[in-house]
Amino acid sequence: MGNPAFPPFDNHKSVRVASVLSMTDKPSAARDASLPHGVEEARLRQQAIGVKLRHMFDQVVNEPVPDEFLDILRRADERTGGKA
């Protein structure tokens, strides 16, 4: 429900990164000092991979859309009787 189907296009990178972090970033409890070092380290690494993964995807999302896409859609629209 808190997962909008259409994320805003102006792409608040910081918000996105934060949401990626929150996917793997368990609050305070996981940061407990009693946690074995290896587990914490692995978690940080997973978190870093998550950030990069998101960044990789967003790089394409942020590319300008080639005109071809809209041209094709416009032609299809006209074919089906589009605008009067």
Binding site: N3, I49, L53, D58, F69, L70, I72, L73
Partner: protein
């Protein structure tokens, strides 16, 4: 509900507006499936047209992003079954990826992540992309992949473990760089990216 072509309506206009907004996301998903920008755009265009043609079966107000992603994914696998010689394609895509690395502006870590991703089994890769990058909930990803939620969860978790192992092995070191640099550069890069958050 007939099969006759729907006359243009305000529904169509709304549908088109939403579809146009989704194009960048369809392109990104297609890129991760094909690994090749040109093939990806062909795929995304096909999916966009399929979605447009099927607009009568789409219920406004439901999750159009998941719906179009499912169409794109189905298109990808049906084309692949039909005509793509996948092993060859993978090989070519891998070579292109290596060539693309020569761009000095391209962050190294991103490329190593891409290569590590390409070594994952397809169903793990798509699950991880949908959940870890596409912003879908497990339930939505399950819908898109037409499988059980538990299956998506286990694919994502296996994908995460495998990625980490691959990157830590630094199996893709090149230019004489020491193994292990892959993970280190990813950590540094992620740090920089998240730094913008608090900055």
């Amino acid at each position: 509900m007939g099969a006759a072509p729907k006359p243009a309506s305000s529904d169509d206009e709304g549908f088109k507006r939403e579809l146009i907004q989704l194009i960048p996301h369809l392109r990104a998903f297609a890129r991760t499936l094909t690994g090749d920008p040109t093939a990806a755009d062909d795929l995304a265009q096909d999916a966009m047209m399929k979605a447009w043609d099927a607009r009568a079966s789409y219920q406004m107000g439901t999750n159009m992003k998941a719906w179009t992603f499912m169409i794109l994914r189905n298109q990808f696998y049906s084309e692949k079954r039909r005509s793509w010689r996948q092993s060859q394609l993978d090989q070519e895509a891998a070579e292109r990826t290596l060539v693309a690395v020569d761009d000095p502006e391209a962050p190294v870590a991103l490329d190593e992540l891409r290569q590590a991703l390409s070594s994952l089994p397809e169903e793990q890769r798509e699950a991880l992309i949908l959940v870890g990058a596409g912003g879908f909930a497990y339930e939505e990803a399950a819908e898109i992949c037409q499988c059980a939620v538990g299956t998506v969860k286990s694919r994502v978790s296996r994908a995460r473990r495998a990625l980490l192992a691959t990157l830590e092995r630094g199996g893709y070191a090149r230019d004489g760089r020491a193994a292990g640099d892959a993970m280190r550069s990813i950590l540094a890069d992620a740090d920089r990216l998240s730094g913008a958050r608090s900055g």
